[in-house]
Symmetry: C2
Amino acid sequence: MQPTPRTIPSRLAKRAQYDDQTVYSILDEALFCTVSCVINGQPFSLPTAFVRYENVLYLHGSVGSHFIREIEKGIPVCITVMLTDALVVAKSAFHHSVNYRSVVLFSSAEKIESYEQKAEVLKWVTEKMVPNSWEYLRPMTESEVKKTTVLGFKIEEASAKIRTGMPIDDEEDTALPIWSGLIPLGSGRGTPIADDFSKNVPLPEHLRHLQ
Amino acid sequence: MQPTPRTIPSRLAKRAQYDDQTVYSILDEALFCTVSCVINGQPFSLPTAFVRYENVLYLHGSVGSHFIREIEKGIPVCITVMLTDALVVAKSAFHHSVNYRSVVLFSSAEKIESYEQKAEVLKWVTEKMVPNSWEYLRPMTESEVKKTTVLGFKIEEASAKIRTGMPIDDEEDTALPIWSGLIPLGSGRGTPIADDFSKNVPLPEHLRHLQ
């Protein structure tokens, strides 16, 4: 993908990535996104499940949802996804950070009208939520497909932003006897991992319940 | 809080809750929110850390961030938070769902100018991320506070939306020999919990790696 003025971050642009595979891998790991749009000049946003297939991100919702009925008109949307991998615990509060993988996507909806294509997307959503479950479930009915709106958003203007690795403390702080490192997220709060400057620093009491 | 036309969901309004304590408890458990605003008619949104204190939600960011510099003007924002507790696995794809606790908040920024108040909010953010760590860290410097913008958003127009409990299948499906129940989220994918209609149904192969 080509960067555009609105997909180039104003801060820490070196963390941005534009290749399809990086963007797709984040979209495929995340179960939920936040969709934002403008209605009468006011921002609205909603967290929801989604699935990616090739270069399209798909959402579904009830045909009765006001939000879906607004965005199905094809108005501009901004879709964000964030996976949070770890809290980055530095020796100073200022250098605390988060290891994350996020995507920001600008697009607009194309409503999927074909019965077969709608049914296919609903299968993909189910398989993303619970892999290999589709054939096991009670088959979907025609009426269920008809009660559901499916929208596709081309992934043509998007960027990923990624932070990995240990805290980056001020040079003069690195020798301080203060524990710094990562607290993994995602499977609750996991075991703290000390960085190179903390190998001989005891884990402080307020972090020990994570060991 | 009083419901307003934009905080009453168009779908499943019975899931909405407006009491302060419910909204605050979700905001206090979630580490990250998504902030959306409108710039030149276009929706923009960004995931970020936050902290609540009394009836105000606080964000912070670099004074150099374009996004922060737009929302600090006091333009309307929509802030969403979602905690995902479980995948709800029904006997039909149509009745699959998610147990979640979400908040949607409409507000606008007030820039915090007082040095002491900024420093206090940065302490709250740090303590939310890593409880009881503030006194242990290298003290914050005046220059660090000055490099950071802190914005407060009054929590006056907000709603929580919550789904809990087991799947709700169609009456005629409840006797089918298909496993249904919950897959806990939050600490990775946890052990599936069978519902009342699945006590004697073996867990299917594609879910067994979660046991």
